[in-house]
Symmetry: C2
Subunit: 318 residues, 2 copies
């Protein structure tokens, strides 16, 4: 593979870090992932990251063009500063500069969902599409929007916070402090929190659920598939919230494609049909008519592929 220009893609998530060698056609050669814990001090995490990148380069005859990082949070690509990464509790950290020093190669930092959106655009479900929205449903919910052939950034690089569209102004409290964001119904953390709350009031069900191990979004989905009534109610609320958010998104951006990804989505792929039928049935007909709802083609690799190939684009320009 390394005859083609290549970069290293890094996806820094809330629970794990993933690296991959990715060529300019989006093909992955080597991949490695390890867990990460929330920790206000970024240095130990970076040390492990640098070690793993250096190890991955041993024996390579050709050097990568650089490193592309996608990280959940508010990021400035121009300066490489991570303004706020809530999952890791990092604030105003010069990630780009620190990694560049440690690795002695160019580093490009972007937001993780924006990186994944870029990946889908170049090599995934949005190839040749100029108007699409990606919605990544995982522990949190994030989005990326391409409109008129351009990735929307917004006035300070924060466009596409689609997990925090308010779908029920009197709904449950979200991690952001608002009431009724779609994430507060359908993000992984919310599924687990709603189950915990329901089980606190139902000793019988609690015994059943406790036998399944630690409570998580996965447990809720598993129980939903087994027909458990508590899980059913939680997922039905999540479904309605996701449909409302989908309609809001269609009305705001009028996309041609609506692309779904993220760990929770891949665990509950029924979401695709729910959103498809919800949009077709209830969005404004002129806008709903032509929307296609699709799964992310790159799946859980969208993050690393997107981070790597976005970096390649930036570095080739420079």
């Amino acid at each position: 593979m390394n005859k083609r220009p290549w970069t290293i893609g890094v996806d820094i998530g809330g629970s794990k870090i993933e690296i991959a060698h990715v060529d300019q056609l989006g093909a992955i050669q080597l991949k490695k992932a390890w867990p990460v814990a929330k920790h206000g001090d970024p240095y130990p995490i970076i040390e492990t990251l640098v070690e793993n990148i250096e190890k991955s380069l041993i024996g390579k005859s050709e050097s990568p063009l650089g490193v592309g990082i996608g990280i959940a949070g508010q990021v400035d690509t121009n300066t490489g500063i991570v303004h706020f990464a809530p999952n890791l509790a990092w604030k105003s950290f010069p990630l780009g500069e620190e990694l560049k020093k440690a690795l002695n190669m160019p580093v490009v930092i972007t937001n993780d969902v924006r990186a994944a959106t870029w990946g889908e655009w170049q090599f995934g479900s949005a190839v040749d599409c100029n108007d699409f929205v990606c919605l990544f449903i995982g522990t949190g919910i994030g989005g990326g929007v391409v409109s008129g052939g351009r990735l929307l950034l917004g006035s300070n690089n924060g466009a596409g916070e689609l997990g925090h569209l308010i779908v029920a102004k009197d709904g449950p409290i979200c991690s952001c402090g608002n009431k009724g964001c779609v994430e507060a119904f359908a993000g992984g953390w919310a599924l687990a929190a709603h189950a915990k709350k329901a089980l606190a009031q139902n000793a019988e069900a609690r015994v059943l659920w406790e036998a399944l191990g630690p409570l998580s979004a996965k447990t809720v989905i598993q129980q939903f598939k087994h027909g458990d009534p508590i899980a059913k109610k939680i997922i039905e609320e999540a479904r309605e919230a996701l449909i409302a958010a989908a309609i809001t998104i269609v009305h705001a951006f009028n996309p041609q494609r609506f692309i779904l990804g993220g760990g929770l989505f891949h665990g509950l792929p029924e979401i695709k049909d729910w959103m498809h039928f919800g949009i077709k049935k209830n969005a404004l007909p002129a806008l709903a008519e032509k929307v296609e709802v699709l799964s992310s083609r790159l799946g859980l690799e969208a993050g690393v592929i997107g981070a790597a190939t976005f970096a390649m684009k930036v570095l080739k320009k420079g």
Copy 2:
């Protein structure tokens, strides 16, 4: 004025049509408005429009470059076809072609709120701003979005349907058939409908309100200002819905300016402060920090000025 190139701007609203002569600096010379009723047959309406335009041209030494029309509904600027104008009950009508024939001059058709957004961008509250959202609150609620220096169109010219962002998935039914769109709380028709419903259950209040004349959004606002408890409740619900929509808009687009206009807004300018404080208090801090909430500088003339100057841009290019 007519030494500068000029066009005729037309704003076709749900209850009136307005025309104006507008020069390339956005200055209005002549203005005329007349009422219009919902009517599936567009021809009588167009006849009156043509007559009024021709009358306005009598004695003019220099001809306009053409006519720019802004109309509420789904419109295709390239073909001049009005796909759907709900307020007038027009469907698939070739407005551009018909007017061009009748007037013997170029005609450019666009959506009314997009025209007004263009007007604010060129001559109003959004001059020199590359990332802003206009929200026009009238009988209905519409929006226009400029992101990264470009007016968002979406995949089939329908981006910015901001009246139909869902803020309460179990809320009141909207004109579009969904539940809980912001328009179903805060559009002029909704204020009147909520008041009608509340008064049906309250004979005493009904007598009081009936003395004020026919029930409309204006009556509700007037009663709100007089401290009437029914009006207060309706406006408070509208305020909460508008704040939720504002937060959703900030999270979706990350605008630098948030510009408010429309008849209902100009009758209840407190909305500006409500939205300002709602965004600052509850939107994600990194996005809320720099947003400025402003009134439309062109006010109720944004529509004709925008339609006229948008046409000028298109015609000068052609």
